[in-house]
Amino acid sequence: MDPIRVPPEMFRFTSGDRAGLDVSILHAFGEANERLETALSLDDVRAWLRSIGWLEAIEDDELTGRLKQLRDWNLVDVVQNHSENYRTAGEYERRNLQYSLTRQGEAAFAGVVHAMNVLAATGALQTAVLDAIADRLGDLVRELDRGTNRRIFTALLELEAHLEALRGNTKQFNGELQRLLRADGANLTTFHEVKASTVAYLQEFLTNLEHRAHTIAVRIQQVEDHGVGLMQLRALTGADLPQLTTSDPGPAWLEHRRAKWAGLRAWFLPVDGSQPRVEHLHIVARKAIITLLQVLDRITESRRRTSSAVSDFRELARWFTVVPAQDDLHRLWSTVFGLSSARHAHLAHPDPELISSTSAWAEAPPVEVSPLLRTSGRTERFSRTGKVRDVAAVRAARAEQARAERAELEAAWDMLDTGGPVRLSSFGTLDHSVFERLLDLLGRALGAAPGRGGGRRSTTSDGRIEIVLRLPRDGSTAVLTTPRGQFRGPDYDVEIRTAGQRPVRRTAGGRP
């Protein structure tokens, strides 16, 4: 379609403070035109205004003023009637001047009427319209065989009207559907009902849609076989168009028919083999059903779960607003949300077990508070965290033992350092204790979530040893031998590093 250009003043009468009167005047002209009265005098206009329900009194001056304005907007034209006798200038004005709608005025009012209809109408997908299209196409085929031009003309126009209805209805229905999908809030119950019935409606429409579309496509093809151009020419002859202007209306009319026919084909049997629009309709309807069902689910679901939380939050907002004291606010927060931190002392006795649990606090020795804090209000930075080192000193022996074990373990971990990625199978034969450590590291790595490249990375809890594991591409199996038996598993790419920058040692059975 060509870009639409609306004459600038065409719809000015619908806005402004006198819009009500202006629209009524045009309405009056419209009503009069239906009775085939086209030229109205001032009194006629007044009479028609009253008949369409404009009951306010209007002064002559005002009415002429509005008519003049409408004339300026090129909606109303004025003609003079010289066939009567006039006694005064006033009477001349009242009865000599006759007003009629211009072409633009007629169109503008029709536009407004149409707009109001669209606004009030509800769209529907009607299978009846599809049936009607198929029927009219059948008629056309029959009439092309042995009918008159006049009947071809009426059948064609009916066909076009039905197609127009289909387009209009679909557009409107789709618009409403999408608005329905967007809408939230409202009354949940009615919402629920509307959506449920819409789903049922759509499902019914979809049944046999394909079958009907197919029938239509076949009949379009039949008409095409007779020749569309011929059909349209015969329709033109049948139309018997009046020639009201100097130019021949025929070509324009034919052009119109061609456009409509192209529209019909686009809907059911596109020339370029692309997807017919009726299938889009299918898709939209299907999608809408799914979406609607999901929305319904969500409503039911949210009713069950979220809605209570929403009302809890709303109720709490009210509580927070009316709770009396500042302290109560914080207590409410801590109780309801449970997000507050615990609170504990951090200074302990060097050896808590030396003090009896039955002695009073006043009798027990105090904890060591930094003397500097008392004298200067500062804590020594290095002793900020009163570490448990004191406890360790009390249990020196155990700590020493732990350190020794640690050292041994670290030595073993050092032995496992691969110095770069190796295959698991390259470890070959291992001492059992070293094998257990390797197993521990593998376990840690496998316990970690795989990284971006598919490698699993883990460290020991002290961060000293790092292991990276990648699944081999070839899917081979590694066999490790220890004095106590054999271990089989996927032949991972293994990389074990110690953080301490120690000289890299080779594993027992590792690569040279």
């Binding site: 939380a309 109720e315 509580w319 709770v323 606010l329 801590s334 504990h344 965290t385 316990g447």
Partner: protein
């Protein structure tokens, strides 16, 4: 391989203990804000979950894929000193407006998966307009926008909303700011810890203030302890099992969450439970597993976290003048004193430390310092104010000067 096992067990114990204390400090840990902590909790979730479930009856939910761990701390809180705080340099506690807005925002966020700050503000505006109790939210006022931003930033911290585009802070300067959020509805639901929803109680709004304590107890009531949920109600109908469960949970909830647990604050049943061999044994084991040092005394029990992990604030500490003053005031606060006496001590301290904060330098300084220091002592369960008299609590003796009990020469200690 006992040596290796020892090491592994030690490592695991340490991790579990850390995990427990981290969760006590931050009941909601997200992978985004604390990746390492979250990873540890994720790995050790089973023993940590068991610890909380057994001792406190608190549920720990770890969502490895969604990236958060939530400890649902259920208890009727009596301590008002642990508020939500604004995520700004002053860490000011939330005020009434911010708390209320937080709830309204959370309610509105539940309805949509994605939103922008402008749309959200509209929704909040409409919600408050429809509510005749909560004051209307008006984005034209800068202070309101500021409160709104504080609320959103807290929700961001908790991971309930995620900023996809823009920065929330920009909204303070202009209501036209463009910020896009993605909302995690399940996490929003999990923000509420109370087992009973506020809306279920259906209390008329003008009674909320009058029945406040009752309401706090009502929202934190759990059904598994029997009909009247045990607390201090002797007539409640509940089985022996439920009663024991309730005793254990109620004692441990206070113990792991509060700085000091005084026997005087417990019911006779709870005291008896703690004194029983089972109770003592559990106490030791719980402290040990969580890496706390247990301190048992005649007057009460406390858990010491020597790493200072499971706490929002420390004492003694030099983090503020009030804390230092609190420590020094303890030296003189060996018997009940009046506020006036404390003020005299405070002004002596101000003379002794001429470089202390300017805040306390005007005429009202000593009074302010004394009350701030007292607040610190109250936060740590070391002092208690009642009827104008300030009473030191037994645990205050922990911080006494070693040899100062005999003379008044405390000020010359060096």
């Amino acid at each position: 391989m006992t040596k290796l096992d020892n090491q592994l067990v030690a490592a695991e114990r340490e991790e579990v203990a850390h995990g427990i204390r981290w969760l006590l400090a931050a009941p909601l840990i997200t992978e985004r804000s604390q990746p390492e902590t979250f990873d540890l909790v994720r790995r050790r979730r089973d023993p940590i979950r068991q610890w909380f479930d057994y001792y406190c009856g608190w549920t720990l939910t770890v969502e490895p894929r969604l990236g958060y761990a939530r400890l649902v701390k259920v208890r009727t809180v009596t301590d008002p000193t642990r508020p939500a705080r604004r995520l700004r340099s002053g860490r000011t506690p939330f005020d009434r407006r911010r708390y209320a807005l937080l709830c309204v925002v959370a309610a509105e966020l539940l309805a949509v998966p994605v939103t922008t700050i402008g749309l959200l503000a509209d929704r909040v505006g409409r919600a408050t307009a429809a509510d005749d109790v909560v004051p209307n939210f008006d984005t034209a006022i800068r202070g309101e926008r500021m409160a709104f931003v504080d609320v959103l930033r807290l929700l961001e911290l908790y991971g309930a909303v995620e900023v996809v585009d823009g920065t929330t802070e920009a909204f303070v300067d202009s209501a036209e700011a463009k910020v896009l959020y993605r909302i995690d509805a399940t996490l929003l639901l999990r923000l509420l810890a109370a087992p009973v929803g506020a809306s279920q109680l259906a209390v008329p709004v003008d009674e909320v203030a009058l029945r406040f304590d009752e309401l706090l107890a009502a929202v934190s009531r759990e059904r598994r302890y029997g009909l009247a949920s045990g607390a201090h109600d002797e007539t409640a109908s509940h089985s022996e099992v439920q009663r024991n469960l309730w005793l254990r949970h109620s004692v441990f909830r206070r113990l792991v969450d509060d700085p000091v647990l005084y026997f005087d604050d417990l019911s006779a049943d709870e005291r008896a439970y703690l004194a029983s061999p089972t109770g003592r044994q559990l106490l030791r084991r719980a402290a040990d597993q969580a890496g706390f040092v247990l301190e048992e005394r005649a007057e009460g029990v406390l858990l010491v976290d020597t790493d200072g992990i499971a706490t929002d604030t420390r004492f003694p500490d030099d983090a503020g003048t009030a804390k230092v003053a609190a420590l020094l005031l303890l030296e003189t606060l060996t018997r009940p004193s009046t506020m006036e006496q404390l003020e005299i001590e405070a002004s002596a301290l101000l003379d002794r430390f001429p470089r202390w904060a300017k805040t306390y330098r005007d005429d009202d300084g000593p009074r302010q310092l004394a009350s701030d220091a007292l607040a610190v002592l109250a936060e740590f369960g070391l002092a208690h104010q009642e009827a104008g008299l300030i009473r030191p609590l037994p645990a205050a003796a922990r911080y006494a000067v070693r040899d100062a009990r005999t003379t008044g020469s405390g000020e010359t200690t060096s």
